[in-house]
Amino acid sequence: MAILELKNVSKSFGGLVANSDVSFDVEQGMIVGLIGPNGAGKTTLFNCITGYYPPTRGEIVLSGRRINGLQPDKICKLGMARTWQKVRPLTNLTVLENVMIGAMCHTNSVKVARERARQQLHLVKMEERSDFRAGGLPIGERKKLEMARVLATGPKLLLLDEVMGGLNPAESDDIIQRILGIKQSGITQVVIEHDMKAIMRISDRVVVLNSGEKLAEGTPAEVVSNQLVIDAYLGKPMSDTYYV
């Protein structure tokens, strides 16, 4: 069964149509790449499905349960969590405390939360940073912190919004490794990215949005050779160097 089903999801802000009839399914355990030009409605879609605002029309179904209009904290507790395009660390708290707050999604014990937080920080190789103030971290570590924090909430489905934005190749590689590791542990992911190399490497399926509508869907190979996608987004046919 698909872990997430989007059926005709539409979102308008007054007269501005941000998403229009977007439908696709995400199967358990896979990584879906969500790509498209800036302003295509990718982040808006994330905001809708995580409850930040309700969709204007359409159905959002998580593990068979309709979640339209539920609050973000409820949706997080149901197992779908997201990161933010512009990272949102809890600036004045320490790195460890940031991740602990994620871990507290499913526990009331500070001690248990601390343990889970340490594990997550270990997985992104940031344990030595545990006691540092989150606001003082450079961008690469903020992104890793955000991933550790959101994973501490124990999601079944993880939505990553441009986690590689602003990172250098080494940092991006770190993140890619982490994403693949997450897939290994059975967590499903939907990844918004502009880095096509990364998308090709990690995605099982790719969905393309353009001007609020779904333009194409398929395997990475299918999508990058789709002429519509090339015209709207890629600019030119992708050469072999993109295939890693």
Binding site: D73, C76, L90, N92, M104, T107, F132, R133, V150
Partner: protein, 383 residues
């Protein structure tokens, strides 16, 4: 908890990527907060113990009722500041309307004592119950708003409460206020523990209350509640997406802070012996609470205590014209000169001016309050 006054040593420069040859090197580490380990913990505990002993023995060595009075006001102010801090400093909801809870606690305790001879340590609890109800109502209005809008709304609702108290004469005796006739003696099982004819029992009662309040603040902050509160302060929407329901936690913080403020109000009413809307529900009270925390250190455990130590003696000194006396005695200004006469008549009312100056000084030189400043000083030592 982390040092809050970190000036980010990396700042926007952190966005720069390291050169390819340096990619293996991590960027310089951001400020490390100091933990309480070993020696520091011992020091902290001994300091605490000594302070407690001194505080408990205080009335034995100091007999002046005026000194006791100042201490009682200081402790009350600490209770109010510490409880406000739970909502303000930790959860980031800077209410300037806490006088509403103070006043309700004061009035209920006083009314029950005067009209039905219910001893205040019993009568304060219905006061607390009413405070909780009112807090929930106020919360349901104000928490729809964020940041400065919340602050303004909190001021508004507190003023509405004060005006209601002024006009509901049947309930509150309006502007005339209510005067206490006698505080019943505390007896347990028929045995007299203490009467309340001197200041000493009030001192001990307020001391115990202060310790309880600070203890509760400490326990709350270490628990999951404390973490959720701080998450909301830092970034409400991020917290929301991590499974924290902001409305729920904001209301919990509000209720906890309102309860202790209400208890302080009940105590104040019985101690001073008189309540009226302009003394127990005024904006002055709300402002003083916030000032206490700003000066001492918002979001710290002992900040409100330090802030009280700064503010309460200054406020009392102003009221009793102490500063004017000093100025005349040292001969800086002659009592008969124009300036002298002006000072003598007006300095006592200058507490608002002094507060204003204090706030400006604090914001300019010690934005994190005294506690934050002390931490900063300690950190500047060579590593």
């Amino acid at each position: 908890m982390v040092n809050r006054n970190d000036t980010d040593p990396i700042g926007p420069l952190s966005a720069q990527q390291p050169l390819p040859s340096q990619e293996a090197q991590p960027s310089p580490p951001p400020r490390r907060r100091e933990g309480l380990l070993g020696i520091r913990r011992l020091l902290h505990a001994s300091l605490l113990l000594i302070s407690l002993v001194v505080l408990f023995l205080f009335p034995r060595f100091v007999e002046s009722p005026y000194a006791l009075h100042i201490m009682i006001l200081l402790l009350l102010n600490t209770i109010m500041g510490t409880s406000w801090n739970i909502l303000g400093g930790y959860t980031g909801q800077y209410s300037i309307g806490h006088a509403a809870y103070f006043g309700v606690g004061a009035y209920v305790t006083m009314v029950l004592m005067q009209s039905r001879q219910i001893p205040p340590w019993v009568g304060v609890w219905p006061g607390v119950a009413l405070v909780i109800v009112i807090a929930l109502v106020i919360g349901s209005i104000c928490f729809r708003l964020r940041g400065p809008y919340f602050v303004l709304a909190s001021i508004g609702v507190a003023e509405i409460m004060r005006l209601s108290a002024m006009n509901l004469n049947q309930l509150t005796n309006g502007a005339e206020g209510i005067l206490a006739t006698e505080v019943p003696a505390l007896t347990i099982g028929g045995k007299l523990i203490t009467d309340f004819n001197s200041k000493t029992p009030f001192y001990y009662a307020s001391l115990v209350l202060t310790i309880v309040t600070i203890l509760i603040a400490f326990l709350v902050m270490r628990s999951k509640l404390g973490y959720c509160f701080q998450a909301i302060r830092e970034d409400q929407d991020a917290a929301h997406s991590l499974g924290i329901n902001p409305t729920f936690y904001k209301n919990v913080a509000l209720i906890i802070s309102a309860i202790f403020t209400g208890i302080a109000g009940g105590f104040y009413a019985v101690y001073i012996g008189f309540v009226d809307p302009n003394t127990v529900m005024s904006l002055d009270i709300s402002v003083q609470i916030v000032l206490t925390c700003i000066i001492g250190g918002i979001g710290t455990l002992y900040g409100p205590l330090i802030g009280s130590i700064v503010i309460v003696p200054i406020a009392e000194a102003l009221r009793s014209n102490f500063f004017a006396d000093v100025i005349f005695q040292t001969g800086l200004v002659s009592q008969d000169s124009g300036v002298g006469v002006f000072l003598k008549e007006n300095l006592a009312h200058a507490h608002a001016l002094i507060y204003g100056i204090l706030v400006v000084v604090v914001i300019m030189f010690m934005p994190e309050g005294v506690i934050g400043f002390q931490r900063k000083l300690l950190r500047k030592r060579p590593a």
